[in-house]
């Protein structure tokens, strides 16, 4: 018997308009859309992952192009109108051209505008060559100076004159994917151990619960630091990346396992589960056909809430210098540049730009997770 068969008999005969019957997922979606902050966050998160996927398309400059004339260059503003010679103004996106001045006595550099000279900016401009989605060769960039030889630092530059905006955009790929891969690992461990624990109970449950309690009682940072410090510096970046991800997901799975266990325990005695078992379904079938669908929405919400935790963990480790190492660009390794107070005072954008990006991403994911959780909870008002 499918859901559609539950149409009232009277309605069938009298041919009256019956309200459309919605499945649990569309009900959830409907509820979710009403949560406005979460809905906006969904778009924001989508945008950030788009940045991660099409990084090179959005980045105006090449990742490690150094520039001796752009060392610690402060952020440049975008201006909208240029004045023509006859005094009328015309719409033209541009940035002011700058030159470096080095104060000989203090050896400090400062950047001053060159009067009358502008760098025209535009959308879909030509720039460095890259492969879109690792496949399609292209040199079109979303936004940047029209002349590929010009450099504009929208968010400033670091100590080697590298463009911070481009580095943040490229770093998105690593930082955001660590969250996803870490969550995938947590999901597998958490659901299988939590499921075992909740479904079988008894000594299995006891052992797994003690293990979880143990992992949760250890302060995470020293544990992570110890594990991360064990990664040899000479390892290839990809391997370091995966090991860091595994370390970060070590803790994440415990809360998930607890939730799955709780759900299993409460579902085990529900009538429909007992009925399914009496109908002769095997354990695996009961779990797959009846239990997992009834708490999967809840699990998705918990997973969304776990992603930002992992992003923060990666950032902290890389910042300390024991997670990902510099040739890899992530938000954490970018923040590592802003480690001492003197650099921050000289170039606050090194701290503020990647920092804002992290906070925005984490906030958006948190709101999204909260919205999903509320939508998945049938008892919430």
């Amino acid at each position: 018997m499918s859901l559609a068969d539950t149409q009232p008999e009277a309605a069938k005969q009298a041919d009256v308009a019956v309200p459309e019957l919605l499945g649990p997922w569309s009900l959830m979606w409907r509820k979710f859309r009403r949560h406005r902050v979460a809905y906006v966050s969904l778009w924001l998160v989508g945008f950030i992952y788009a940045l991660a996927l099409f990084g090179d398309f959005f980045a105006p400059e090449r990742l490690d192009d150094t520039n001796r004339r752009g060392i610690f260059a402060p952020p440049q503003g975008i201006h909208f109108f240029v004045e023509n010679e006859d005094g009328s103004s015309e719409f033209q996106l541009h940035a002011k051209a700058r030159k470096v001045q080095v104060n000989q006595s203090t050896m400090r550099r400062s950047y001053v505008d060159v009067p009358g000279k502008i760098i025209p900016l535009g959308f879909f401009v030509e720039g460095y060559d890259y492969k879109l989605l690792w496949l399609i060769p292209s040199n079109t960039h979303f936004f940047g100076p029209k002349d590929p030889d010009d450099v504009v630092y929208f968010l400033g530059a670091d100590r080697l004159g590298r463009d911070i905006l481009s580095r943040i955009i490229i770093g998105t790929k690593i930082s955001m994917s660590i969250g996803l891969v870490g969550v995938a690992i947590s999901l597998v461990i958490g659901v299988s151990l939590g499921g075992l624990s909740g479904y079988y109970g008894g000594w299995v449950d006891n052992v797994i619960q003690r293990l979880i309690e143990f992992l949760r009682s250890i302060p995470t940072i020293p544990l992570w630091m110890g594990l991360a410090a064990a990664i040899p510096l000479g390892w290839p970046p990809l391997r370091t990346y995966f090991v860091v991800t595994i370390i970060v997901s070590m803790i994440g799975w415990t809360s998930l396992a607890r939730e799955v266990r709780g759900k299993f325990l409460s579902l085990r005695s529900e009538d429909f589960i007992v009925a399914a078992r009496l109908d002769g379904l095997s354990d695996w079938e009961v779990i797959r056909k009846h239990m997992i669908p009834s708490f999967s929405s809840h699990i998705i919400a918990s997973l969304t809430l776990a992603v930002p935790m992992m992003i923060l963990a990666e950032t902290s480790l890389s910042f300390l210098g024991i997670g990902l190492q510099p040739p890899i660009v992530s938000w954490g390794t970018l923040l590592k540049e802003a480690q001492n107070i003197r650099t921050i005072i000289e170039a606050p954008w090194l701290l503020l730009a990647p920092g804002t990006m992290i906070v925005v991403a984490v906030l958006a994911l948190n709101f999204l997770g909260d919205g999903l959780r509320d939508a998945a909870d049938p008892h919430a008002h």
């Binding site: 250890i218 064990a230 950032t315 906070v359």
Partner: protein, 327 residues
């Protein structure tokens, strides 16, 4: 109650054992040992000669199988209170760690107090005045507090303090007081510095606790017993404090268990950023140069004290909440 206490302490023994094994495993993980690091550092000056290396190796049992080294280490701690020696500084670990551990836990406990002082009234307020401006402000603070990583907050605060208040940043006391005996002035100077790590470490915990307190209290506020008390003419404030807040407070105590590990974690990372004389910088350095006994002892003791803190919170909870059955 006594039986419960015994059982909980008995439960702790395997945990403690596991903690020590895991700690030792972790510090053993990196390939090579401190002698390799030392040899690499000395290679510019002609290298470490074989005889010296062998002598050092024998002395510390390096190169022996894992369980031999572990046994040596753990029996040393249990029977002689000897945590081994720090290879890098060449002094017993005992001389290095206790001061710093004291600061770490001192700051963590102060942070816990800070969190309570902040989260309790704000949590109550935002539950009682649900959907008011203050409630939204608290919610917003909560989300941001959870989204900003500790070290980032520390850096931003240091930047603000330096740029706009001209305060010397980093450390727990101003440079001129370091190594001086304790005086009133030094104490005042300490207070001027210590608030910053406390606020930084406490923000995310306070944010989480405000949300918990709000949710707990909202569960209680509309119960029939509250209505009864109100019908009897009790003043609103008295009513609130005497019944629902008291009930909502129980989960508050139980959260010490999970909040303490995060506080200690947070303190360690913030200490690295702010250059505090606590466990953080010492542990980081020890891990980077593979000073394994120092790193191991620090991780071990920090974890043990956290486990102990969790135990105390459980006992406290059992004591204040009669509904918890001792099993």
């Amino acid at each position: 109650m006594l039986g419960f206490l015994y059982r909980r302490i008995l439960y702790m023994i395997p945990t403690v054992f596991l903690v020590s094994v895991v700690t030792f495993l972790i510090i053993q993980l990196p390939p090579g040992d401190y002698l390799d690091t030392l040899a690499a550092e000395l290679s510019d000056q002609g290298g470490l000669d074989e005889a010296t290396a062998q002598a050092l190796r024998d002395q510390y049992g390096l190169g022996k199988p894992f369980y031999v080294q572990y046994y040596k280490w753990i029996t040393g701690i249990i029977f002689d209170w000897n945590f081994g020696i720090s290879f890098e500084k060449n002094v017993p670990v005992n001389d290095l760690i206790w001061d710093r551990l004291g600061w770490t836990f001192g700051i963590s406990v102060l942070t816990l107090l800070f969190i309570w002082i902040v989260a309790l009234p704000i949590g109550i307020y935002s539950a009682v005045r649900k959907y008011s401006f203050g409630d939204y402000a608290a919610t917003l603070f909560g989300f941001i507090g959870l989204a900003v990583p500790n070290f980032l907050l520390a850096l931003v605060m240091m930047y603000v303090a330096f740029k706009y208040f001209g305060q010397s940043v980093g450390g727990l006391v101003s440079p001129q007081y370091i190594g001086e005996p304790w005086t009133w002035d030094k104490f005042v100077d300490l207070l001027k510095h210590i608030w910053m790590p406390i606020v930084v470490v406490g923000t995310s915990g306070a944010a989480a606790l405000i949300r918990i307190m709000r949710a707990n209290l909202l569960d209680e506020l509309y119960r029939p017993y509250v209505v009864t008390a109100r019908a009897k003419g009790m003043s609103e404030f008295q009513l609130l404090m005497r019944y629902p807040v008291r009930v909502a407070l129980n989960p508050f105590v139980s959260t010490i268990g999970w909040i303490l590990p995060t506080l200690v974690s947070g303190e360690i990372i913030v200490a690295v950023v702010m250059n505090l004389p606590t466990t953080g910088p010492l542990l980081l350095r020890a891990l980077l140069v593979q000073d394994m006994y120092l790193a191991g002892s620090l991780i071990l003791i920090v974890s043990l004290l956290t486990v102990l803190g969790t135990l105390i919170s459980d006992l406290l909870l059992a004591w204040i909440d009669p509904r918890i059955r001792y099993q």
